[in-house]
Point group: C2
Chain length 160, copies 2
């Protein structure tokens, strides 16, 4: 994602307006490395601008994704996560607290024609799952990005 000043120009150039709400989100996202979900961003944004709507947060995030300034990720944590880094990289995700960090690893993630089963591959996504340092130290800590999200990877023990 380009810095806020550049985004302002980019939005105007596309006929999109630069509102205080959008500027706030540009600023919050810029340099963010926590891969926040929409709701997390909304909470932070509402702290600075009470009255901002969750709907507006979703709207702006979608705009940025459509412009290629932001990457939408599904890390299996129950809600979409947003990454201002749009270059080629992968992610480590904590299965307990849902923290996510960027990983730059060079590995052969190209699929050979034999393996691709007729698929025309556009993108390869690698997700490393495990426990972050904090959760290794405190196995009972619960600190989800998405409040009470139900992750696909928490283990499915339902039963009444």
């Amino acid at each position: 994602m380009r810095p806020p000043a550049d985004l302002v120009s980019a939005f105007r150039a596309k006929g999109l307006k630069v509102t205080p709400q959008r500027q706030l989100l540009f600023r919050l996202l810029n340099g963010d490395e926590t891969h926040p979900c929409a709701d997390t961003l909304y909470t932070i944004a509402a702290g600075e601008m009470p009255g901002i709507s969750l709907r507006t947060v979703y709207q702006t995030l979608n705009d940025l994704v459509a412009m290629g300034e932001l990457q939408m990720l599904d890390l299996g944590t129950g809600s979409a996560r947003f990454d201002p880094k749009v270059d080629d990289h992968h992610h480590v995700v904590c299965t307990q607290c849902c923290a996510a960090r960027d990983v730059y690893v060079t590995m052969s993630t190209e699929l050979s024609p034999d393996d691709s089963l007729g698929f025309s591959i556009h993108k390869t996504q690698v997700v490393f799952r495990g426990l972050c340092a904090e959760c290794v130290a405190a196995p009972d800590r619960v600190l989800r990005t998405s409040s009470t999200s139900r992750s696909t990877y928490e283990g499915a023990s339902d039963h009444r």
Copy 2:
């Protein structure tokens, strides 16, 4: 996933009962390579057993996942997918029709201590995204596993 007969024993051994609903699902899942979602399984099951509840399908799938007989996957298609293969493999997913297939590729997906950022990695998941052969041939075909699912990867062009 073990064959239905073995699952019957495994369920009884755990004090879980073997009902017709569960046996049907054992049979439907056995050897399935389409990575169905809960709703798809429910539709198929309801064809053979009218009256079966979607709730029961979710319940049984969760039981099987908890027993390690089934793998729950989040392939970014909007709903959880289920894979009776629980060995170490990865997936190709069609971004248009959401079809998924297994991929057995040997690649260095181990993260070096330097790259792991303090995380204790338990599992590495690779998802290859692209178009399947059918969708390459018919770019307008829409055939989602999850009826009208909203995929995280369809591109976010909202706007009214």
